[in-house]
Subunit: 177 residues, 2 copies
């Protein structure tokens, strides 16, 4: 079972640059896309910048509903992540097509993804650069994490489906948060 995860530590999930799934919901229809163009912008409250192409159905839904969930998959979900990136929610229920389980979130209509080890409930905090760069600034309002996953094997996309997997961990003598 996932547990609530402190907002002050959300950056530890996204700073390493994993592929994430972005879920949205509108008029009772869930959708999900894969995304790698995101960054942390502030520790607390956690702010996340991300770029969503206007070609995606999720772009319009995110702009209108101003809510989403960022779910972080591990490498064993690679086939589903690639499949999600290869089709559109306009013609397919991607949760059903790829065997992913939508779970109700606490604060937003967009669903959590049960199979992902972390889920971040987000609201759009700043849409002023949507027209200029397709950039949304998201604020994480609640975070969930499976406590058992200590060293997640996240995916790091290198183009055209090639992904590096986070494996070995190093401990550097860093004083930086």
């Amino acid at each position: 079972m996932p547990r609530s995860f402190p907002l002050s530590r959300v950056y530890q999930l996204l700073e390493p640059g994993p592929v994430v799934l972005l879920t949205t919901s509108r008029r009772g229809r869930h959708n999900v896309m894969a995304m790698s163009w995101h960054m942390m912008m502030e520790f607390e409250p956690p702010l996340i910048g991300c770029i969503v192409s206007g070609r995606h159905l999720s772009f319009e839904t995110l702009r209108r509903t101003r809510e989403c969930v960022l779910a972080i998959p591990e490498a064993h979900l690679g086939r589903q992540v690639a499949g999600i990136g290869n089709c559109s929610g306009r013609t397919k229920d991607k949760f059903a097509a790829f065997g992913l389980t939508p779970l109700p979130a606490r604060h937003v209509a967009a669903p959590l993804v049960a199979e992902c080890f972390a889920n971040l409930e987000c609201r759009v905090a700043d849409a002023r650069w949507v027209d200029r760069y397709n950039m949304f600034v998201l604020e994480v309002i609640h975070a969930w994490r499976e406590p058992g996953v200590k060293a997640p094997r996240t995916l790091h996309h290198e183009g055209y489906g090639r992904c590096a997997v986070a494996g070995e961990r190093l401990r550097l003598a860093s004083r930086a948060r």
Copy 2:
């Protein structure tokens, strides 16, 4: 020897979210900081968003000179990367202190880092969100890459010096760039 690398493929270096070194130069003094809060914003010309804390000397230098280099280290440079993050260029010549070799760039005064497998020469393309979020939009104007490094063991920071290392590679059946 590094070779010029096509600008159209720069996203393949940064999309996976590696720790990067950001170098600057002002009045003949080089400086370098470590950074994980960055994202791709456009394929070509490559645009990169990044957040640089106002506490860093690099913030003021980047704002004034509007130039930098993003250099990507591999895990064997972990000790140096952590050391760079633990001190300030106000009191130390970090290139000398950590045994890194600055090389002249082609288009900017900021130096390349010889020990890094990739180096991206950048100009500030948009500073309008510097005051709001400490966010710079960089345009990559020239890229360099060591052709021999096929699967770089990049660092992915998870907080307080803990890093995941990119290791195993997966090929997913993705049609997405």
